[in-house]
């Protein structure tokens, strides 16, 4: 019985309209790396949130170290030595690492026995020791704003270690990291386990599980499918269990057939709002029937390139030619009409008007022209017909059909709405920025298929993605960006994942 440090028995948790966890029972052994695998919305995070004290289960019991507990708050969880490393960091950027870590549990000393003050010096020392013993390599006196993303994540880890957690929950920890950083992090996680900690790893990336986890629970639609021994299970099998059907991890695609040049970007320079050059002298071309992917770590200028081509950001130098026509200074609408479709990174604040209904959002780029409007008067019937046909065609699911407020739809269906709308424009160039971020693996497969289908129909496709796997999978040509400059442009067959990773870090120069 008590060889489990954490036991969750018959846990059920409902939210309005859905059952997030349905009679789930798992047991986690002390000192193992236990992975939770599942698509988005499978209920992984909900299950762990109950362990972290964010929610309480509707039914079922939780046992920690053999004792039945009701975890009522994150503070309570901390008392039980449970710590959670969140996907989105919760750090104060103007504070030092130490200040962030001790926030809420500040060591207080009294000056002259009366005046209380925070004992930063001893905290610094303690954090340094902690950092060394787990190989985290951070300088406790540095400010958060000076740190890279992966460093910030280490601070989050230190935060839970400082609170003496010995059960650590990692919620999708690798989503924001480069391949090299991921390797480093997985090393740290293994180190923590060897130091006697129990690790729970929430992820939907199979190769990470394969690399470090001992056992793995697969969730699908709130139900526990199976608990597997990782060493004895193939990745393929895990993927199948996770999705509930056969999946193609590698997209099938015909060899590319490049035709005429569609997009030509020459010596492009873009400045950000503060006047810093974020895109420096970037040149590339995309041909009809080609998927050109820009690989890179976040915030290296790739989104600005996409924005500049679509017209959302002003260009400070260089030229953009679409089908031989200079569009460098055209308005967004003129570009759309000239043949650009754009699936933006931030789908909620750019891609959709969340308070409008589905049919309106599907017509968001065509509302002003016939047949949607005649002489400035809108034709609602046309909106509805168009909306209904797209809902069927792209399998967009929503509560009240075309009348559904887009805000209430799931992320995956919001993305389908945007992609469907943009494909319908029949543009010669399609820009996809992070098209699969936050959507589940079934939908990812579907989006990749759509991209390849559009390519085969002769469109030029620009893909900007932080997921290296995605790029290796669908791209015909890869451009690697680092610090606003394209380091390398080559066909995808001629590059390995590791090489791309090195270019992404700016490590490899020709």
């Amino acid at each position: 019985m008590s060889d489990y440090i954490v036991e969750m028995k018959h846990i059920t948790k409902r939210f309005p309209g859905i059952v997030a966890n349905d009679n789930v029972s798992i047991g986690i052994k002390k000192g193992e790396i236990f992975a939770l695998l599942g698509e988005n919305g499978a209920g992984k995070s909900t299950l762990m949130s109950m362990l972290g004290g964010m929610y309480e289960p509707d039914e079922g019991d939780i046992y920690i170290r053999g004792e039945k507990v009701q975890i009522s708050s994150p503070n309570h969880a901390a008392k039980l030595n449970i710590g959670m490393v969140h996907q989105h960091f919760k750090l104060v950027s103007d504070y030092t690492i130490t200040e962030n870590i001790i926030l809420g549990v500040e060591p207080v000393k009294k000056l002259a026995g009366i005046f209380p003050y925070v004992d930063i010096r001893s905290a610094n020392r303690k954090i340094e020791e902690l950092s060394k013993s787990f190989g985290l390599e951070v300088d406790p006196t540095k400010k958060i704003s000076d740190l890279t993303v992966s460093m910030q994540q280490r601070v989050e880890i230190l935060k839970v270690l400082y609170r003496e957690a010995d059960i650590l929950i990692f919620d999708e920890p690798t989503a924001v990291l480069t391949p090299q950083e991921i390797d480093f992090l997985l090393g740290i996680i293994e180190g923590l386990r060897n130091g006697g900690k129990t690790i729970i790893l929430i992820t939907h990336k199979l190769e990470e599980i394969k690399k470090v986890a001992d056992r793995c629970a697969v969730l699908n639609k709130g139900k526990l499918i199976d608990v597997l021994d990782v060493k004895e299970t193939s990745t393929r099998k895990m993927a199948q269990l996770m999705v509930g059907r056969e999946v193609n991890l590698k997209s099938d695609k015909n060899p590319a057939a490049f035709k005429e040049e569609v997009l030509k970007v020459e010596h492009l320079n873009v400045k950000n709002e503060d006047g810093f050059e974020v895109v420096k002298d970037v040149s590339f071309t995309i041909k009809s029937g080609e998927i050109f992917a820009i690989a890179g770590v976040a915030d290296n200028g790739q989104v600005e390139i996409a924005d500049a081509i679509a017209g959302l950001t002003k260009v400070s130098g260089g030229e953009i030619l679409l089908n031989g026509k200079d569009i460098t200074n055209e308005s967004i609408r003129k570009r759309t009409e000239a043949g650009i479709s754009y699936i933006p990174e931030d789908r909620q604040s750019f891609g959709l008007v969340l308070d409008f209904d589905l049919s309106t959002n599907l017509a968001l780029k065509q509302y002003y022209r016939e047949p949607f409007a005649k002489k400035g008067i809108l034709n609602k019937e046309e909106f509805e017909q168009f909306g209904s046909s797209l809902i069927d065609k792209y399998d967009i699911r929503s509560g009240q059909g075309i009348k559904t407020q887009v805000r209430s739809m799931s992320g995956g269906n919001q993305q389908k709405t945007i992609i469907g709308r943009e494909i319908e424009l029949q543009s010669s160039l399609m820009i996809f920025v992070q098209p699969t971020r936050g959507v589940d693996i079934g939908a990812i497969e579907n989006i990749h298929k759509m991209m390849i289908k559009e390519r085969d129909q002769g469109r030029a496709i620009l893909l900007v993605s932080l997921e290296l796997d995605e790029i290796m999978n669908v791209a015909d040509t890869i451009g690697v960006i680092y610090n606003g400059q394209l380091q390398k442009i080559a066909s995808s067959e001629s590059l390995t994942t590791n090489e791309v990773g090195e270019y992404m870090m700016g490590a490899k120069h020709e």
């Binding site: 309005p16 967004i332 604040s349 308070d355 409008f356 968001l364 400035g376 008067i377 809108l378």
Partner: protein, 383 residues
């Protein structure tokens, strides 16, 4: 069954009338009004008066219910027409706020825009000897143009220099108030009334003391225009490309830009329309309800209109009803105070309460939907 359950059932019965989401834009303001009248009744009870009688007097004073006796040439009809006369500028002003709000802008400057357009129409037409047939339309055109330009300036400042419209409209209110007060006191003052000189009857948008069927009535011509404007605005916002763009810009500037809309042009345009409506409010107020301008005073209508527009859900037709209600309370308060011995200020308290509770509409909505969810849960666990 358990106590909790019974309590929940009671709660569910209570919210039944406002459960239907389709009708919530109507039912929730009604519930807010109901709650505020209950609260007002408690206030009146506390000061030792009869609330039912007070509300009755309020309606009598506004010309909705007959008074026991009338002075010569007066009747319930004349009272009702005075109500419409007072209501006209409020409808325009609230529409001005509503349009700006749809575009995601907060027009606090309705009072200033009213004053500028009222003043310009007064000196350009009100003091001229033009015939009624030319003067009246001209007053409307000047009002709309002046207000529209002033609103447009605010929109342009926002678009060009990213100056928050709340700040710029408040500052423009002060500028309008003091500059115009200077001109009135220097050139147009009536030494007896200490206001600007009265305008000619020909320019006035309300026909005063029209004798008909042995009654002397005030006919507010602007009222008809106000109703037409509201209906047109509804059509404009729902059915036209321009209205669609304004709403899109108001909902999400980023998405509107992404979709290829000209965000700057739509921002300026929305403020021109809003200012134009405020201008109409100004001329129907200073050249209709009144016939002169009191220096150094901003009309409170400009500020009331923010709340009235909120109560009407920023919906053009809703605004007509909410203006009607607020005007009844303000018009009826004189009679209420003389009959029931309740101070006139209590009517302001009632208006304040209504607006306070109407601002809680979002909370009510949230509460209703969470109760509905709970009920669903209950049903699920039973089955």
């Amino acid at each position: 069954m358990s106590k909790v359950k019974r309590k929940n059932n009671a709660k569910n019965n209570l919210i039944r009338p406002i459960r239907d989401e389709k009708w919530q834009p109507v039912t929730i303001p009604l519930v807010a009004i109901l709650i505020s009248f209950i609260a007002a009744a408690i206030v009146i009870l506390i000061i030792g008066k009869n609330p039912i009688q007070a509300f009755y007097n309020l309606l009598q004073g506004a010309g909705i219910l007959p008074k026991p006796s009338y002075a010569g040439y007066k009747s319930m009809l004349t009272d009702f027409l005075s109500l419409l006369n007072a209501m006209t500028p409020l409808v325009f002003a609230s529409l001005a706020v509503a349009v700006a709000f749809k575009a995601g802008l907060f027009n606090i400057g309705v009072s200033g825009q009213m004053l500028v357009s009222g003043f310009l129409a007064t000196i350009l037409v009100g003091y001229s000897g033009l015939d009624a047939i030319i003067a009246k339309p001209l007053v409307l055109v000047i009002g709309m143009t002046a207000g529209g330009l002033m609103g447009g300036l605010v929109g342009w400042l926002k678009y060009k220099f990213n100056i928050n419209e709340v700040v710029s409209t408040i500052m423009l209110n002060y500028i309008a108030q003091y500059v115009i007060s200077f001109f009135i006191q220097m050139y147009y003052i009536d030494p007896v009334s200490r206001q600007s000189q009265y305008i000619s009857e020909a320019a006035r948008l309300t026909l005063v003391n029209v004798e008909m069927a042995n009654l002397k009535m005030d006919l507010p011509l602007g009222f008809i225009l106000a109703i037409f404007t509201a209906v047109f605005l509804k059509f404009f916002m729902d059915k036209t490309v321009v209205g669609f763009e304004i709403k899109a810009v108001g909902s999400s500037r980023n998405a509107a830009k992404y979709a290829g809309m000209n965000v700057g042009r739509n921002t300026v345009l929305a403020m021109v329309i809003s200012g134009g409506l405020a201008g109409l409010a100004g001329v129907t107020y200073y050249l209709g309800y009144f016939a002169s301008i009191q220096p150094k005073v901003l009309s409170s209508i400009g500020f009331d209109s923010i709340a009235v527009s909120l109560l009407g859900n920023s919906h053009p037709i809703g605004v007509i009803f909410s203006s009607f209600l607020v005007s009844i309370i303000e018009q009826g308060s004189t009679y209420m105070s003389s009959q029931a011995g309740i101070r006139q200020e209590i009517s302001s308290v009632i208006v304040g309460l209504i607006l306070l509770f109407s601002a809680c509409g979002a909370y009510l909505k949230h509460k209703v939907s969470s109760l509905k969810d709970k009920e669903l849960d209950q049903k699920e666990s039973e089955s």
